[in-house]
Symmetry: C2
Subunit: 337 residues, 2 copies
């Protein structure tokens, strides 16, 4: 990030009519945006939610509360504008771009086609996908981000859709944050106690069968990951490479962010945290990136919903540096001593 731009914004923030630092995270975001855009006057042009969809062979193990057919059904719901992410993106004046990175069966409509496979394979029996497929899915995400940047979008939210995808996400978070499995396995869309036990066992078995090399993010991603998780990681890496900030949604998105950070630690500087999900492993995953969530809404929906809500704060941060009066302008006395 551009330190000079950040210093200029810090100077501006400290001249505004408020106690120094009293706007907390809004001040941090303003500086981060300036550092990313390399200017003391960062601006947001167009905002996009990049929702990546993929299916998971591991659903055979009974790890989800919803049947796999819900992935394509919800993809149609998003295309028709009826999902939560559509509502929150409309409120934020942002657009949702749904990408099929590997739903189990091909679907048609207003979505970006980047199909790598008909979902992943059951990771308890072997790798979820080949290393080549993982790379393809990662590049698919990067390519979507690149295209949207070319179209003038300069603020992204990550998002995803895929029945079963908290299971590979838990596996990734356990491996990359070196956490016990039981501390990062939650209820996903709402599985019961027996389902949680099946989910933990599936992850344990997947790790045992595949022996992922935790020093190699692509090995982890291909063996116990997901196609949409790979695409999320790719979109983050492309955003960072193009100097575009990207708001990280919930648990699955943060698993993708951990993969991105492992491949290129510099990408963390381009990430903006959003909410702390109800999914128990999420805060651990965020801590692994050194990120602190700004929203505490007890959400656990995915799609990009928490990240889309966070756009509001990014815009608030920029309004503050643009519109607030300085101590000098307003004739307000500064701190004594």
């Amino acid at each position: 990030l551009d330190q000079e731009a950040m210093d200029q914004i810090q100077g501006r923030l400290d001249s505004l009519t408020k106690p120094q630092g009293s706007l907390g995270q809004l001040e941090h975001i303003a500086k981060q945006l300036g550092g990313i855009q390399r200017t003391s006057k960062p601006i947001i042009q167009k905002k996009a939610v990049l929702t990546m969809a993929g299916d998971h062979g591991v659903v055979e193990e009974g790890v989800s509360a919803f049947p796999q057919e819900v992935t394509p059904q919800m993809a149609y719901n998003i295309m028709n504008g009826g999902a939560a992410i559509n509502v929150l993106a409309r409120q934020a004046n942002a657009e949702v771009f749904l990408t099929d990175v590997g739903i189990a069966f091909p679907i048609e409509g207003q979505l970006i086609q980047k199909r790598v496979a008909n979902g992943t394979k059951n990771m308890t029996k072997g790798p979820a996908m080949s290393r080549y497929e993982a790379l393809q899915a990662l590049l698919a995400g990067a390519s979507v981000a690149e295209e949207k940047i070319r179209e003038g979008y300069n603020l992204f939210a990550t998002g995803e859709l895929g029945i079963g995808n908290t299971t590979p996400s838990s596996a990734i978070v356990a491996l990359l944050t070196n956490s016990p499995i039981e501390e990062v396995v939650g209820r996903g869309t709402g599985i019961d106690d027996e389902g949680i036990i099946r989910k933990r066992r599936a992850i344990e078995k997947a790790i045992e069968v595949n022996q992922p090399d935790t020093s190699d993010a692509l090995d982890v991603l291909s063996k116990v990951g997901g196609l949409e998780i790979a695409a999320i990681a790719g979109s983050i890496l492309q955003a960072a490479a193009s100097h575009v900030p990207i708001v990280i949604d919930g648990f699955i998105s943060t698993a993708g962010a951990l993969i991105a950070a492992k491949l290129a630690p510099q990408s963390i500087a381009y990430m903006i945290p959003s909410h702390g999900s109800m999914e128990i492993g999420h805060r651990k995953a965020l801590a692994g990136l050194g990120l602190d969530p700004v929203l505490n809404l007890n959400m656990r929906l995915g799609e990009g919903t928490g990240a889309a809500l966070t756009f509001y704060f990014v815009e608030a941060a920029l309004r503050i540096i643009e519109e607030m009066a300085t101590f000098a302008d307003a004739g307000v006395s500064e701190k004594s001593s």
Copy 2:
């Protein structure tokens, strides 16, 4: 609150294409709004930030980082649209109404005149104000809220301005949540370590000298409170009485909310929490009301800034119940089992 309206909204929420309860606090806010407005289709018409200003005799004890003249200076800054609350209210499409409940010297301009006194007296030497003045300031706040409700505003944010006002707020929070003083005294606008010691001593002395009766909120308010804190409590009580929701800002506002709750516990149901402030006693104060903040922005500015940012989530909650597709409409399969 109207249970029938809340049940109808719960039914609607559970029919929408998302795992049940997965929108967390947004779902809670939607139900609360329906219960308050007594309809399954709550709407927001106009939004107002009610910023109450008052001065504090206790500043003589060296409890604030800024000189007292900053209260009127910041009042002019708000009237001129240059303060943080103006910027955030503009973003929220809300209006800021500044009320002078007792700035040390009268000021002129676009503000609501409800002056009760030239600031409070130094509470380390006797009561901050008389019981009658406390009641007058409380009724001033109620009257502002009532007038704005008559003008069609149906969502409020509390807010305040007053150099030195974290000191009486800490006293109120300590007394009404039965907390040790050192756990509820923070840095306010940015006082140093010696200032913190002076601040604690001032509060201890004020409590010792005045012996407030913690079973009597008006006694606490008049002896160790503030005029703008009384007005905040009054605005909350009027909002509740008129079935209008009110978003509670930071530490000082929450002290006002504790007074309101002590006078009429039913008013808590009309309060919407906003952010968890950096001021160390704030979470304790919120816990005293059973409220959990939705924003984690490390802010400590007041004026109504955290509450104004929270308007966005109230609107998001209403959009969700209005615009999302149901499982039936979208042809999405429900949870298995």
